[in-house]
Point group: C2
Chain length 330, copies 2
C-alpha cells in the first residue's frame, strides 16, 4: 500500500476547560503494518463518548486520541481472525489501526448492525446494564431517575428499569429529548433541566422520593436529585459530564446531609469492573433489542474529519442518542 494513507487526529494542545477544535490536529501518517499476532483494522464507525474528555487530560501531546471503534480486518496475522472479519477495539481517532489478541474483539453479526457493537450492545449498553442492576439494585416499584436520559447510556438504563417494573424519570436537555424518552421509550416522566427547576419538578413527579439514581452528569442536577433521595436509596456515579472540563472541583451545596439522613448509598462505577460478565450482559441486551423491549437511537456524523467538532458538540449536549462518526462505508 502507498505510504501516508492513514489520517489521524492527534492532541495538539491540552485543553483548559472546554476543548476547542484548535486543540486537535489532523495528520497524515504511514499505513500501519501488522506484525505477527496483530491485525490491521479499517475503522468504519468511531465511538464518541464523554468519558474521553477525562483521558485527554492525561494523554500525551501528539498522540492519537483514544476511542473505541468498529471496523473491518484488512490483514490478519492473528490466529482465529481473518481478513474481512468485523472487529471492535480501541483504535482511536484514526482511519486504520492495529489490534492484537488482547485488544481485538470479534463482533457477533447475529446481534445486529455492527454499529451497535460500540453502542447499545457495547460499552454504553453494558455500562447501563451493570451500573443499574449491580450498583443501583432496583426493585419492582422503585422510582429510578436517570440523567442524560436520551444518551447512549441513559436510554438503556431507563428501558432496563422499565423492564424490571420500576417507575422511571428521565432528565434531559430539551423538550424533544424528554418527549423521546417518555413517548418512544416508555419512561413515566421526563424533566427538561434547561427550562425546569429540577428539584421542584422531582417533588411533583417523584413525591415518594428517588430509590435509584443513575448519574451521568454530576453538578447541579445531581445536587437537585440528592434533595429527593428515598430512605436506603442507591446512586451510581457513572459519569459527570458537567464537571469534566474542570481542572479543580467547583463548589456546590454539601450533599452528604441527604445521604446521611436517608441512609443512602453512593457508589462510583465504570463498566471495566465487570469484564468477566461482559458476554452475558451483551447477550441479554441483544435479546432485548431483538424483541423490541430496548430501542436505540444513533446520532451519526458523516466523515472522519468531523471527530473534534462532534466530540465538542457532545460535551455541550448537542447530540441526540448514541454519537457515532461514520468513518467509512465499507
Amino acid at each position: 500500500m502507498p505510504e501516508n494513507e492513514n489520517r489521524q487526529w492527534v492532541l495538539k494542545s491540552r485543553p483548559d476547560g472546554m476543548p476547542t477544535e484548535a486543540d486537535f490536529e489532523l495528520i497524515d501518517s504511514p499505513m500501519p503494518s501488522p506484525e505477527y499476532g496483530q491485525v490491521l483494522i479499517k475503522s468504519l464507525w468511531n465511538s464518541m463518548d464523554p468519558y474521553m474528555r477525562g483521558r485527554i487530560t492525561s494523554s500525551p501531546i501528539g498522540g492519537v486520541i483514544e476511542s473505541e471503534a468498529v471496523g473491518r480486518v484488512m490483514e490478519s496475522r492473528l490466529e482465529g481472525i481473518s481478513a474481512g472479519d468485523i472487529v471492535r477495539g480501541r483504535i482511536g481517532w484514526q482511519e486504520y489501526g492495529l489490534l492484537d489478541v488482547t485488544s481485538a474483539n470479534p463482533v457477533n453479526p447475529d446481534y445486529g448492525p455492527i454499529s451497535t457493537s460500540i453502542g447499545v450492545l457495547g460499552m454504553p449498553g453494558l455500562t447501563a446494564y451493570f451500573g443499574l442492576l449491580d450498583v443501583c439494585e432496583p426493585k419492582p416499584g422503585d422510582t429510578v431517575v436517570v440523567s442524560s436520559a436520551s444518551g447512549a447510556v441513559g436510554a438503556v438504563v431507563g428501558q432496563i428499569a422499565k423492564i424490571g417494573g420500576c417507575r422511571v424519570i428521565g432528565i434531559a436537555g430539551s423538550d424533544e429529548k424528554v418527549s423521546y424518552v417518555v413517548d418512544e421509550l416508555g419512561f413515566d416522566a421526563g424533566i427538561n433541566y434547561k427550562v425546569e427547576n429540577v428539584s421542584e419538578a422531582l417533588g411533583v413527579v417523584a413525591p415518594d422520593g428517588v430509590d435509584c439514581y443513575f448519574d451521568n452528569v454530576g453538578g447541579p442536577i445531581t445536587e437537585a436529585v440528592m434533595e429527593h433521595l428515598a430512605m436506603y436509596s442507591r446512586t451510581v456515579i457513572c459519569g459527570r459530564i458537567s464537571e469534566y472540563n474542570e481542572s479543580e472541583p467547583s463548589m456546590g451545596p454539601r450533599i452528604l446531609r441527604y445521604v446521611h439522613s436517608t441512609r443512602s448509598r453512593i457508589q462510583g462505577f465504570t463498566v471495566n469492573q465487570y469484564p468477566a460478565q461482559f458476554e452475558d450482559g451483551r447477550a441479554q441486551l441483544a435479546r432485548w433489542v431483538k424483541s423490541g423491549e430496548i430501542k436505540y437511537k444513533e446520532d451519526i456524523i458523516e466523515g472522519f474529519e468531523n471527530c473534534p467538532k462532534a466530540f465538542i458538540g457532545q460535551l455541550r449536549g448537542a447530540n441526540f442518542g448514541k454519537l457515532l462518526i461514520k468513518v467509512s462505508d465499507e
Copy 2:
C-alpha cells in the same frame, strides 16, 4: 411523693445555628407516676450526643429535650423489672422519667460500670461497631481514617480497626486529643485539624490512600479525606457535627469526582438499622473492654443543671471522651 419534684430541661426557643443556653428552660414538674406496664426511673447518668442537635430542629417547643440516660427503677408496674434495677432508655433531660416494655432496657451489671451502658457499651460503641464493620468493611492492612477520633464513637472505631489489623489515622481538634489516640489508644497517626492542613497531612501519613473513612464530622475535613480515597474505598457517613447547626446546606467543593474516579462507596448510617444485632455487638464490646483491648474515656459533668452548657460545649468540640451528665449519685 411531694409534687413538682422532677426538674426538666425543655426547649424554650428553636435555635437558629449554634444553640445558646437561652434556648433551654429548666422547669419544675410533678413527679411522674407509672401506670400499668410502666416503670419510674431516676436518672443517674444522662448521655450527651451530637445527633441531639438534629432532633432539636424538629422537636416541639416546651417539650423535654430528648436523650438517652441510665437510671435506677424507683417503682415498677412492669413484669420482669423490679425496683432497684438499673435500666437504660430515652428518658431525656429530666431527673425522673417513665419507660415501658418497648423503651426500658435492663442493663447487664456484669459488663461494667453502669455509665458504660450509654457509652462504650451503648449507642456510641454500637455505632462504632456496626458502622465500621458492616459499612466500611475493613480488611487487615487497610488504612482507616476516623474523624472526631477521641470522641465516644471515634475512639471505639479506631480501636476496633486496630484489633482488625488496620492502619488507623485519627483526626481530632487538639494536640492533647491526638496524643491520646496515638499514645494511649494505639492509633498509628493523628492529625490536629485545627493547626494542620488535613489534606496535606493525609498525603504524608496515608500515602497509599484511605481505604475506609468513618465520618463523624462532615464539612471541610470530610472533603479533605475525599481527595485521598483509595480505589474501591468505603466511607460511612455516621455524623456531621460541623453541619448540624446549618438549616440549609453550606457550599463546599464537589466531591463526587473522587468517588467516581476511585469507584468508591459512600453510605449513610445510623445504628438504629441494627436492632436485632445489638446484643451480639454489646457482648463483643464488653469482652474487648474487659480484656483491655478497648479503652474508654468519660468526660463527666456534675449536675443536671449543666445539661445545656455541656451540650453546647460538645457541639464546639470542648469535650474529651464520652460526655456524660452525672445527674445523681444514687
